[in-house]
């Protein structure tokens, strides 16, 4: 901390350089973190980290078990009116794709009350795995800004496409997923 006895005038050059290096290193780290924070949603083509979803049924599904498959991640909430607009279409899309075993759907309830989420799932007869976004880790990973948002991960685990806001039809959902299956 302090050198009480040595009659030194100032600091040695090495100490100064080390002090500045530490400071600049810290600033660089902050700057880098800031750049990431400002980057907005995950970019298409970026590798998406795997995640676990604890469903409302208490099961844990993991995207790491689904390598080589196309994964559709839909963020929604029971309080979100636009989400209701696409809910039935998403379920219909799931009914179509689940036969192929190529595409998996995940629903993530974003900042929601559990009973209301359950009621929402029941209301729209949603059958693909749905769960709460515990500690908002999943939405943070995708840098979700609001709901609904849908992200489609390709067979290589990279983000292939995303949709901010609700889908307006089943056709729109298929138009987005089909080319990714064929890749």
């Amino acid at each position: 901390m302090e050198n009480e006895t040595t009659p030194k005038k100032g600091l040695s050059r090495t100490t100064i350089i080390v002090a500045f290096a530490i400071l600049l290193g810290f600033l660089a780290l902050l700057g880098w973190g800031l750049r990431n924070a400002q980057a907005g949603p995950v970019q298409v083509g970026q590798k998406v980290p795997t995640f676990d979803l604890t469903t409302f049924d208490g099961e844990v599904v993991s995207t790491s078990d689904l390598q080589g498959k196309v994964i559709v991640v839909n963020f929604w909430a029971s309080w979100c009116k636009p989400c209701e607009q696409e809910a039935a279409d998403l379920e219909r899309a799931w009914q179509i794709y689940k036969e192929t075993d190529d595409v998996y759907f995940f629903g993530v309830a974003y900042v929601d009350i559990e009973p209301k989420s359950r009621a929402y799932i029941e209301k729209f007869n949603i059958t693909y795995p749905n769960g709460p976004d515990l500690r908002t880790t999943i939405s943070t990973m995708f840098r979700v800004r609001g709901v609904p948002e849908t992200y489609i991960i390709d067979r290589q685990g990279k983000l292939a496409a995303f949709k901010i806001g609700p889908y307006s039809s089943l056709g729109e959902i298929q138009a987005m997923i089909d080319p990714i299956i064929l890749q």
């Binding site: 901390m1 100032g10 002090a19 924070a37 009350i113 559990e114 009973p115 209301k116």
Partner: protein, 690 residues
Amino acid sequence: MITNIGYGSLIITFVLSLYGIVAAIYGERKNLYRFVESARVAMLLTFPMLTLVALSIITLLVTQHYEVQYVYNTTSQSMPIYLKITALWGGQSGSLVFWAWLMSAFASAVSIRKWSRDRDLLPWVIVVSLVTLAFFLSMIIFFENPFQRFWASPGSREIVAMFQPAGTQLLIPNDGRGLNPLLRHPGMVIHPPMLYLGFVSFVIPFAFGIAALITGRKDDRWIRLTRRWTLVAWMFLSIGLILGSRWAYDVLGWGGYWAWDPVENAALMPWLTGTAFLHSVMIQEKRGLFKRWNMILVILTYSLVIFGTFLTRSGVLSSVHAFAQSAIGPMFFIFIGITFIISLALLIKRWGDLKSEGVMHSLLSRESLFLLNNLLFIGILVVVFWGTVFPLISELLTGQKVTVAAPFYQRSTAPLFAGLLLLMGIAPLSAWGHSTWKTLGKAMWKPGLLSLIVLLGMIISGVHSIGALLGFWLASFAFFITIHEFWRGTKARHKRSGENYLTAFFRLAARNRRRYGGYLIHLSVVLMAIGIIGIEGYQTETQAKLKAGESIQLSGYTVTFKSLAEFDTNDGRNVARAVLDVSKNGKNLGQLYPRRDYFYDSQQPMTIPGVRSTIEDDLYIVLVNWEQISSGSATFKVFHNPLINWLWIGGILLIFGSFVAAWPDQERSLQLERKLASQNSSVVPVSSSD
């Protein structure tokens, strides 16, 4: 109209601060004191100007001008008026204005003090204060203007702008979106102002410290001048932290009071260095030691304040406290970088001048124990800092943002806090310059014995956890020593002056506020420690799904679920409220009503636990889940939090103690007391070097 007044005043204040900076530097360089004087007046004026800005925003909020984006985003018709006023700090831009406003209040207050003795410091104090202020103002003006309004263009696109874009009309929504319901809590109404006050008042000691560095003054004048500022800043920061914990306990519904969230840490870090600073300045005052260290601490404290503000507002680390992301991140980053680099450069430049005037003689002297205290505080800081930035480092190295969880902090800081408790007991008994085990032991054995009796009592009564025993023993040790100190002082005064004990006690404390205020704070820390050990070591919890009439047991309590009702209120909430009977050992203790409020306007839920508080423990029940009225069952989480209320009682005492310590002394009584003190009240024989 009001928006224009507010925005105009904002611009004028910004120009004033820029002018003040330039005039102060020019006056100092050219030795033209009238320019410095003019800069001082400019600094003085920032406060009334920003008051006008704050009042404009408050007027807009209260009069429901929903065409103003900020008003729309933070208030709604159903909110009571006090919440509309406090919405001033409920959103990003408003809270920046509030920050700047408080900052200007302190800057103005500094500018009206008597400067005749410290003219050389004045220009640089002005520069540092006004640069900080100007930075915040520039962010408000260029990035987060709270006066922007909604405009509708013919193509029905909505535009947010300060001034009317061509071909548009003002768009006036009927109602706003309302304040985040989590912030609609009395604790939240006061918590941010207190924290901000703590933050901004640390700017002043920093400004003096930097002024001393620039002018090359080697004496401890800057420390004496800012001692009270520091204490006030520290007090506000402490209040902010305590209120924040209380809010978390009441509102967040997870049975705890501190989550080691990045933003909580951001407020804790300057508090840690500030507390270390409060102790180490005494060493510089009394012994001329630690000059460099104090400078480092004051720079660190200010830097951590700015760093904390940056963390909260840039979205670099995700947190429950984070504001919406905005463009101010990069600006803030540049400001932080410049502040850090200049401070470090100045410190390096003056390093040789800040040599200590003395040396430490004895391991047990007050100064060396204070040094140890400082090291412990810095140790805690390092832990907290590391935990806070770890997600960034892990993301950089592994690509995964790994958040450090509470157990890491608890495990690593607990021994350091224990060390602080021990020092809190020993250090007040040691003398400046030189102490020995013999003198210390003489002063310590009685309270030490009492604390051992407490320890024995606890073992007999069935406490077996080593950690809790050690914690409680240290707490009682520090407690008895502090009480003993009060007693010794009172007794000495009683003997000397013939006053009765009560009078002697009050006069003693009144005449030596800093010291006895400090002891009160020590006592409060002991009480808080008891609460913290209680909840950390002995909190129990259980969760169960109950049908009406079913019960759940926890720590002797029986909780019976009676009924649940779901209804809408006329202030825009949907409430689900459960009724529970509480009894202990067959004795009925009344009912608790945990509920879940859902706010329609902001589309957010809020958990309000049902809490039964005694000084012994809290029974804390959260309504987790409920099903349709048909099945009539609900899930509850029940926490038993022993001793938690001592945390809040300690908090109140801490505020009181800080008031006592910070209250201005009258010069005359101070001198008298010094005379008396030198005759009688020192606790152990004081060495000749004092």
